[in-house]
């Protein structure tokens, strides 16, 4: 479970990765993969190429050495023929020939002739003294094979015939018939002097070389012969057929001489050459890779500055706009052409939306105001009929004074109601309005209720919405007093508190349930024309804001108290409303 959660988290984190990091990672990975793959391909190609190259060089070198050594052995063969021709001659002539030969050919150590039993017949040297009793004669080959065109060459050995003189030589032997028809063997001991010259200087690659081996792979001559004799080095190539042999890191190239059992072997250390160069290439590639990575990281940050960062701030701005469009202030984002275009468009859109929203709000307000004003203009017709009925009745009864008072009150009521179309009127006027209304109603509901004003004189000069008190009083009369048996009491007070004006209309009528109170504040008055309590509340809220308006407290059989809160408004400050 934990593992799964962790993986999920990692995936989530990866999904939340920013664009520039993604860019850096992607480019790095691509560069890395390309470099590694190309390196591998390169190394492989290079290796093959180098190997081919090494083989070719090796082959060429070996052929060259072969040709020189071949010429040398042919030369030796010629000398052998000369020796065979001269050995039969008169003693003096032969001695002359041999002393000259040994002088000219410094690589010929000794020329010896043997009888069939291996006994030395004659021996010519460059002044060396023959041992009286030699232990072993390494120059004599018993049962010499006879093959046309093939030189008989021994393994390298020490010259064992002379006193205090032990050079390393190879012996070329040949059988021949002497004047008496006896078979004699002629042996020429040759030092490595010349052969060394031919072989030593041939290099293949940095550490490659050539050596000469016989059929069994035994070394005849090696540039490092001493190391081989000191057991510090050995060669492992035993197959002496012509061709190229690749052994782990060494290439052996074998080429055989036609006239003897010698083979030229080229040794070439490919791996050394290749690994050396590949190492260099790898290290420079690693440097390049590091530079590319650094460059990528740098580009990533530039990319982030140019694209990712502006996008992030755009996204943030959009979030802000979504959360609070009304008060949103847009700071333009700079960046690439696309980003600027996006930013500009968003700015235009935001401004446009804000403008539209404001327009809609304003339209709604003015619509509402118009609606409310239209309602204000309406007069409850029943109230008018009843009042006019009452006045008519007074006139008939000859109560002229009362009738006059009534008509005056009615006139004041309407005058204030209209107030030349102003919505806000001084509280004094509103008070008069309420008084006129109460006056009229008091005539009609004779002795059914009493009323009382408690007014802070300082409040009178402030302004308030017109027809604020009348609907509440109306409500108090119709709902509170109408059905009451006892005499009702309506108390109206106007006070100020800090920056507010507080109106209260209190009655001791039947009261309302909580549901009724809410209903009064919510429901548009439908039964009768005129202004309802909701209308009053709405108007106050529209004009002064949500914190102002009506609150109703009521208890059944105890009475109702309506409180109206309004800001202190002076003349002029709301003139235009």
């Amino acid at each position: 479970m934990k593992m799964a959660d962790r993986i999920k988290e990692a995936v989530k984190r990866f999904q939340q990765i920013s664009l520039s990091s993604l860019f850096v990672i992607l480019v790095s990975v691509i560069v890395m993969i390309t470099s590694v793959v190309s390196l591998l391909i390169f190394v492989n190609l290079y290796r093959n190429d180098m190997e081919q190259n090494a083989i070719t060089t090796s082959e060429q070198a070996v052929v060259q050495v072969k040709n020189t050594v071949f010429n040398y052995t042919e030369d030796m063969n010629d000398i052998m023929q000369m020796i065979c021709a001269n050995i039969q001659k008169e003693e003096e002539e032969a001695n002359n020939f041999f002393s000259n030969l040994l002088k000219i050919r410094s690589d010929v150590v000794a020329v010896t002739s043997y009888d069939m039993n291996g006994k030395i017949l004659k021996c010519w040297t460059n002044g060396q003294k023959l041992k009286e009793n030699y232990i072993k004669n390494l120059s004599y080959v018993r049962d010499l094979p006879q093959e046309e065109g093939i030189l008989n060459i021994t393994k390298p050995h020490v010259e064992s015939l002379f006193v205090d003189y032990y050079p390393w030589v190879v012996t070329i032997s040949q059988n021949m018939q002497d004047a008496n028809g006896n078979t004699i063997q002629v042996a020429v001991d040759i030092s490595f002097y010349n052969i060394a010259d031919y072989v030593d200087d041939v290099g293949i690659g940095q550490h490659g070389y050539c050596y000469i081996a016989d059929d069994a792979g035994n070394i005849v001559y090696h540039p490092q012969q001493q190391l081989i004799y000191a057991s510090l080095k050995e060669e492992n190539q035993k197959n002496m057929e012509n061709g190229t042999y690749i052994k782990s890191n060494v290439i052996y190239t074998v080429n055989s001489l036609q006239n003897c059992d010698w083979h030229i072997v080229g040794v070439c250390y490919v791996d050394e050459m290749i690994t050396n160069k590949v190492e260099r290439v790898v290290s420079s590639l690693v440097v390049i890779l590091a530079i590319v990575l650094a460059g990528t990281v740098f580009l990533g940050s530039v990319f982030s500055d140019l694209f990712s960062k502006p996008v992030t701030s755009l996204v943030r701005a959009m979030g802000e706009f979504e959360g609070n469009s009304a008060e949103f202030v847009y700071h333009p984002v700079t960046g690439t052409k696309e980003i600027s275009a996006l930013s500009d468009s968003f700015e235009h859109m935001a401004v446009r939306i804000q403008k539209l929203m404001e327009e809609v709000r304003q339209e709604e307000i003015s619509l509402r105001k118009t609606e409310l004003k239209a309602l204000q203009a309406q007069i409850n017709p029943h109230f008018l009929y009843n009042t006019l009925d009452a006045i008519a009745w007074m006139c008939e009864a000859g109560r002229n004074e009362d009738a006059v008072e009534m008509v005056n009150a009615l006139a004041r009521l309407f005058r204030i109601s209209i107030s030349r179309g102003h919505e806000l009127i001084p509280i004094e006027k509103e008070l008069q309005h309420a008084q006129s209304y109460l006056h009229i109603q008091n005539f009609r509901y004779k002795n059914q209720f009493r009323y009382q004003f408690d007014v802070d004189e300082a409040c009178l000069s402030y302004y308030c919405n017109k027809i604020t008190l009348q609907p509440i009083i109306e409500n108090a009369i119709y709902h509170g007093m109408d059905r009451m048996v006892d005499e009702g009491m309506i108390r109206i007070s106007i006070h100020q508190s800090e920056d507010k004006i507080i109106f209260t209309v209190e009655d001791n009528g039947v009261g309302m349930t909580e549901e009724q109170c809410e209903e009064v504040l919510k429901k548009e008055r439908s039964d009768r024309a005129g202004i309802g309590i909701k209308n009053v509340n709405d108007r106050i809220k529209i004009y002064f804001g949500e914190e102002y308006g009506l609150t109703i407290k009521s208890e059944l059989d105890e009475g109702t108290c309506v409180t109206i809160m309004m800001p202190k408004v002076t003349e002029g400050s709301y003139e235009d409303k």
Binding site: S106, I135, V158, L227, S283
Partner: protein, 339 residues
């Protein structure tokens, strides 16, 4: 904002890491290139000084051949020197001091005197010169590598050869050289330990002679006269071998006295053939020289090395002297025929 800052920090970190990487690579890169350059340029060779016991004996010539071959292969500047007399440790000490002065990085050293050479070697090591010991050891902890014959084992081989004697009693005379020379003492010790297991054997006389032919011959003659019963003589280096050989030759005792000797040169091989000397214990001197210089090269370049390298020895007598293996060891391979 927080993630932004965090990401920026990571980017910077990555950038720094890359920079460090580049720096490291170029820093590591350069020495490799420099190493190659210095390898190819000939004027800045590392200096190695080889101080031998002698420069004239066949043994040391062969060591020198190996050493100079290795010096060519490793591209080192090799100086090979040694005192005229094989007892002259003072000259050796001077040579050590001079080598240090001349800026040798490695001294390859074969001590005439196990103790008397120690201070000079310690001084040199104190100055940062690495020391490789060849053939004959010196009493110092500063030696990086010791190369040579397992002398005790070589002594045992000599004993084996001596035990081939068919006489009922083996009377042995030991002709050794300088008592302070470590390798001679080890050979003698090995020989004694081995030979005394044979009931027939008894050591009649031990002489320590100077390491030169004349002195050895004289002292050997004297010893043979004093102890006429001696039928086996063992001697432990090239010069004493010749001395003993000549003594036997002059006294005409080649059929009566079995001589087991050390090292080879043209003369001692001749004696082996003619019978004055019966067995030669031949060391792989060429390998010693080569390995000595190769080890010096490894020390200079900081490769790991073994602290002891033993080179092999073979026992050569008349019967096997012309076997391929023995030929190779007895006779130096020289490319030119100029004798």
């Amino acid at each position: 904002m927080k993630t932004n800052r965090w990401r920026n920090r990571i980017l910077w970190m990555a950038f720094l890491v890359c920079l460090v990487l580049i720096f490291c690579l170029t820093a590591f890169h350069r020495p490799i290139l420099n190493g190659k350059e210095s390898e190819s340029s000939s004027d800045q060779k590392h200096k190695v000084v080889f101080i031998a016991k002698s420069t004239v004996s066949g043994f040391w010539k062969s060591v020198y051949a190996g050493a100079s071959n290795a010096a060519t292969a490793c591209n080192l500047d090799l100086t090979f020197e040694g005192p005229k007399s094989e007892e002259d440790y003072e000259t050796q000490n001077q040579m050590i001091a001079k080598a240090v002065e001349d800026g040798a990085e490695v001294i390859i050293f074969s001590a005439v005197d196990y103790e008397a050479n120690a201070d000079a070697i310690n001084d040199a090591a104190g100055k940062g010169v690495k020391v490789v010991v060849i053939d004959s050891d010196v009493d110092s902890d500063a030696v990086s590598c010791r190369i040579g014959t397992d002398n005790y084992d070589a002594g045992c081989k000599a004993a084996e050869a001596a035990m081939k004697d068919e006489n009922e009693e083996i009377h042995i005379g030991i002709v050794n050289y300088d008592k302070n020379s470590d390798n001679g003492q080890k050979r003698e010790e090995g020989f004694r330990d081995s030979i005394l297991r044979d009931e027939r054997a008894g050591i009649d006389a031990v002489i320590n002679v100077l390491s030169d032919t004349e002195n050895a011959k004289k002292r050997t003659k004297k010893m043979l006269k004093k102890h006429p019963k001696i039928n086996v003589i063992v001697t432990f280096n090239e010069w004493t071998t010749l001395g003993v050989g000549y003594a036997i030759q002059e006294l005409g005792l080649k059929d009566n006295v079995r001589v087991v000797a050390f090292d080879s040169n043209v003369v001692s091989v001749g004696m082996l053939e003619t019978g004055e000397v019966d067995t030669l214990i031949v060391q792989n001197s060429y390998a010693m020289g080569y390995l000595g210089v190769e080890t010096a090269y490894k020390l200079i370049n900081g490769y790991s090395i073994k602290d002891t390298i033993y080179t092999d020895t073979i026992a050569v007598d008349k019967e096997n002297m012309y076997d391929e293996e023995c030929q190779r060891r007895l006779f130096a391979f020289e490319k030119s025929n100029k004798n």
